[in-house]
Symmetry: C2
Subunit: 135 residues, 2 copies
DNA sequence: CAGAATCCTTACGGATACTG
DNA sequence: CAGTATCCGTAAGGATTCTG
């Protein structure tokens, strides 16, 4: 990775493409990361267990997301060379610290989802077609 | 939107596709929402101002993201029918409440980005090609 | 100024088949 | 069991052009 001059002022320029927040959101903002962290928070789990508990995730995305989390040092992958092989996933220390901010976000979501949904429906009820436009 | 039987147990089944957290992340987890909320937190702004301050955002994505936020009731859009027209964007009350959880996430990002980057580099340095495989 | 509309490319992600 | 490899459709998003 190239160190840009901007990095020294990153905290003051959170709107650059390479700011920390943006990089974290790239990891956390996808469909599956939060769910995986959520399950692992409750306890270590093996591949098939995660697959079962996270409804709708494909094998490909589970693998891919776990690899990403492992690469970021948020999840530890342990292979037990039995037959058949057993692989256990666990949150690392860093991974566990991610839980709190995510929980805050979830809390916000639960608290405001009703209002958001209502606002959406109200918004969708209004016709925004400019006057005089047909079809 | 269709009401599914699952909705009654949503809070107990956070791993369903339509759970609150996931819906919020679909909004907040994209590249731009956080940045827009960040700018608007500092004060109301008009379209061109947002465009200028959020580096790298295209006109299309700015419009699209603002529309989404407006639809969710998180941002208020005010049109001043002058010539040329002036449009001001502001956070709503709900929008302002989003700031805190997002700030937590940003804080986490700043605090852990170093470790994450280091972990990534370490991960990328080890060869994961199975023994005996060429190419 | 603040967008709407269009085109076009990329990459995300699902389905499937195969392996140690 | 826990993946890898491949194919493929969709959609996200950039660049460009046009408008009230």
């Amino acid at each position: 990775m190239v160190t840009t001059p901007a990095e020294s002022t990153l905290l003051g320029s959170p709107y650059r493409a390479d700011c920390p927040t943006r990089r974290i959101l790239d990891r956390v903002g996808d469909r599956w990361t939060v769910l995986i962290v959520g399950v692992l928070w409750e306890g270590d789990a093996r591949f098939s267990e995660l697959r079962r508990r996270i409804e709708g995730i494909s094998q490909k995305m589970l693998t891919q997301t776990l690899r990403g989390l492992e690469r970021d040092g948020l999840v530890r992958r342990t292979v037990y060379p039995e037959v058949p092989v057993r692989v256990e996933y666990a949150l690392t220390g860093a991974g566990r610290t991610l839980r709190e901010p995510l929980r805050m976000l979830q809390e916000w979501a639960v608290e405001h989802l009703g209002d958001v949904s209502a606002s959406q429906e109200a918004y969708d009820r209004v016709d925004r077609t400019p006057a005089g436009v047909t079809g």
